[in-house]
């Protein structure tokens, strides 16, 4: 048996334009039925003020990765390996390359520093707005509370800022809507109220976990446009989780593709769509119908399905579905991350990491 390869990076350094760097993250759930390695080798960087899309099929560990960053993983799940380096700005200072670098994975989840970061420096929004909104308080009061939790401001100032941010996210008649309860708002407005609350403390990073998955395309288009505008105004970085490749193409600067808890490929959005290197990325892109291509062109499929989390394949997690599977190699060796380019990385033995004897070694850069 080959040991799981865990990439260790002792350097506390961040690239000058990086806001967050997740390195060889592992988050496991020891359950009665077995150990679920929900995240097992996730590595990526989020650059200041840009959007990183995390894409992959359900169960591949997107949400657990996000929750690991904020240290809100459900018990008995726990970060068991890796680093989450975050460049923390002083409040009020600009969003620049300085600031202290903290390893979020090493912080006490209940400690004061993590509580300040959560909701202050890093905010999160969800698919279902009621995950973050309380049904028994007005949206205005909830935003005021969020602001006052992180900043020492008067009631009046907090209220002014709440109205301003509601206005910013496109809630019409924001002053009156301040006193609305969530159930009094339409789905689209509730989504906006949740975004307003997340942005109220001017976070450096907004994590959005499938924020538009439950919405109609027309409402989705509104919310995506809103998020782009808000990014221009506030300058925050966005980690956008989705399974929709169309949304990735619209939103991303950079992309990471996940499969069974592992980031199998990462790169800038154009490279990922036009020059994908991992067999899984290629297969995903081939399996979606593209509008304008006409009727009844048969779709390519990926054979089989995502394996059960208790029954992870040995070696490369994709090997039992991969069209380029190399027996004796892919089922034995966990592919190590191979750098193709500065921002481009792939984990596939075709690109390196396999013993050279008898193995194709095409490194395509």
């Amino acid at each position: 048996m080959v040991a799981e390869s865990v990439q260790t990076s002792a350097s506390p350094e961040l690239d000058h334009d990086s806001l967050l760097s997740v390195r060889a993250l592992q988050t496991h759930f020891p359950l009665d039925q077995g150990l679920v390695k929900a995240v097992d080798g996730a590595s990526f960087d989020i650059r200041q003020g840009t959007t990183l899309c995390v894409v992959g099929e359900s169960g591949c560990g997107k949400s657990v990765t996000a929750r690991s960053i904020l240290q809100i993983v459900d018990r008995p799940g726990r970060v068991v390996g890796g680093e989450i380096l975050f460049r923390r700005q002083r409040r009020g200072a600009g969003k620049g390359p300085d600031g202290e670098i903290v390893d979020l994975a090493a912080l006490d989840p209940k400690g004061a520093q993590m509580r300040r970061i959560r909701g202050g420096d890093i905010a999160m929004i969800f698919q279902e707005p009621m995950t973050s909104l309380s049904p028994v308080h007005t949206i205005g009061n909830q935003i005021v509370e969020a602001i006052q939790l992180h900043e020492n401001v008067s009631n009046r100032e907090a209220k002014e800022r709440a109205v301003e941010v509601l206005h910013k996210v496109g809630v019409p008649r924001a002053k009156q809507r301040f006193d609305s309860y969530p159930f009094e708002l339409s789905g689209g407005l509730r989504q906006r109220a949740m975004i307003a609350m997340a942005l109220s403390c001017n976070p450096a990073l907004l994590i959005a976990d499938e924020p538009t998955t439950a919405l109609d395309v027309t409402t989705q288009a509104q919310i995506l446009e809103l998020m782009r505008e808000l990014q221009d105004d506030y300058g925050m970085a966005i980690m956008f989780i989705t399974h929709d490749l169309g949304v990735v193409a619209e939103m991303a600067d950079d992309v990471v593709v996940m499969y069974l808890g592992m980031t199998v490929e990462r790169g800038d959005v154009v490279s990922i769509f036009h020059d994908p290197q991992h067999p899984y990325t290629r297969a995903l892109l081939r399996s979606i119908p593209t509008m304008g291509m006409g009727t009844r062109t048969r779709l390519n499929t990926i054979k089989g399905m995502v394996p059960d989390p208790y029954d992870r394949p040995h070696g490369c997690p994709f090997h039992n579905r991969c069209g380029e599977y190399m027996p004796g190699t892919c089922d034995q060796i966990v592919p190590p991350p191979i750098d193709l380019d500065e921002h481009r990385q792939v984990r596939c033995l075709l690109h390196g990491g396999a013993p050279s004897s008898g193995v194709r070694n095409e490194v395509n850069t």
Binding site: T219, L299, V306
Partner: protein, 359 residues
């Protein structure tokens, strides 16, 4: 090819009638849900979920039904299978070519034969399959209820159906929880096929599935259609899938059809401003396109079907609205080429569709 094994004796209603290619002819279909308030429980108004639909489905074709959530797609499908009783209108089913039967008015005892010919597949394969029933019971139940097979013959039929949808017959005595979302959707399809239906209504049947599994199920639906001469009413909010699968498409907005056309025309040259906006809102999976396109972002929300706007229901959100749009309702009218649209200005407007691009 329909093999003898699949034919479960639907003679009398399933015989194909050459010459007349219409299988279902829906006229002015209406479904209004009463809104009850107060002690007297008297209706305080009506949700006009389906508000006067006209459409036909031809034998062997796939008709797509699209629109935002709440526009009445599911309600329409449920009227056709008569799990809802329509408030008004006709649903003419052309079974054997003699006299069409009006499913909207058939009494419940006589419904049985149509319930064999018209089956529905639902969105959520998890909640639509009874967790306490084995696959044998789930797939075989319709055969039992209709007195078509029992005992070892039932087992044989279930085994063959499971095989047809790509599941192993050995799984017959397992329960749904042991299966993935894609497999459960295959079970739902096997159950729908068990009575050898003519028309299958797929209501968001692939919407909850992951991309890789979705492609598998779409291909399965196509193979089944070819092998078993099925006709589909394919309900979906996903326009890229609809373009891929459907021959013709009907676009609904607040209980009404606003445009109906063959798929190529609808996608390349939409005639209704709402269709244009829907197409424009679909994210295209190519990052090189995003700066080149001008997106139409609709403002506001979908109208409330209990209190729709005056005139054209779409006028408060329509970028091309004129004064007449707020006062006069545009009828759904034929454009002469078999396609129809409900907009006062369809001829004057030059709307943008989707253009093919190489990814």
């Amino acid at each position: 090819m329909t093999t003898a094994g699949h034919n479960v004796g639907t003679a009398g209603i399933a015989g194909d009638n050459v010459g007349d290619d219409v299988l279902l002819d829906v006229r002015n279909l209406q479904l209004h849900f009463p809104i009850r308030r107060g002690l007297m429980r008297r209706p305080a108004g009506y949700v006009r979920a389906v508000d006067g639909l006209d459409f036909v489905i031809r034998r062997g074709e796939t008709l797509g039904l699209v629109g935002e959530s709440g526009c009445g797609k599911t309600s329409t499908g449920r009227c056709v299978v008569r799990s809802y009783d329509p408030t008004g209108g006709e649903i003419l089913y052309h079974g054997n070519g003699t006299q069409p039967a009006d499913i909207a008015k058939v009494k419940s005892t006589a419904l049985k034969q149509y319930r064999r010919a018209i089956r529905m597949i639902f969105q959520d394969p998890h909640s639509s399959l009874n967790p306490r029933m084995t696959l044998r019971d789930i797939v075989g139940e319709p055969l039992k209820v209709h007195g078509i097979a029992s005992g070892s013959e039932l087992d044989e039929r279930v085994a063959s159906l499971l095989q047809t949808v790509g599941l192993r017959p050995e799984y017959m005595s397992r329960y749904p929880h042991a299966f993935s979302g894609g497999e459960r959707q295959r079970v739902g399809i096997a159950r729908a096929l068990s009575l050898d239906p003519r028309l299958v209504i797929a209501d968001e049947a692939i919407s909850a599935l992951d991309v890789s599994v979705r492609a598998q199920i779409l291909n399965l639906l196509q193979d089944l259609q070819a092998d078993r001469h099925l006709t589909y009413l394919f309900i979906s909010h996903d326009l890229s899938v609809v373009e891929y699968l459907c021959d013709r498409v009907a676009v609904m907005y607040v209980g009404k059809i606003v445009e109906m056309a063959d798929t190529a025309s609808l996608f390349t040259a939409p005639q209704h401003p709402y269709t244009e906006a829907l197409l424009s809102a679909v994210p295209k999976p190519d990052p090189l396109l995003r700066d080149r396109r001008e997106r139409i972002v609709l403002s506001g929300d979908v109208a409330d079907p209990a209190d729709p706007p005056s005139g054209c229901y779409f006028h408060p959100r329509c970028p091309y609205a004129q004064p007449i749009c707020a006062t006069e309702e545009p009828p759904l009218r034929d454009l002469g080429n078999g396609n129809s649209v409900a907009c006062h200005f369809a001829e004057e407007l030059d709307l943008r569709g989707v253009t093919a691009h190489t990814g």
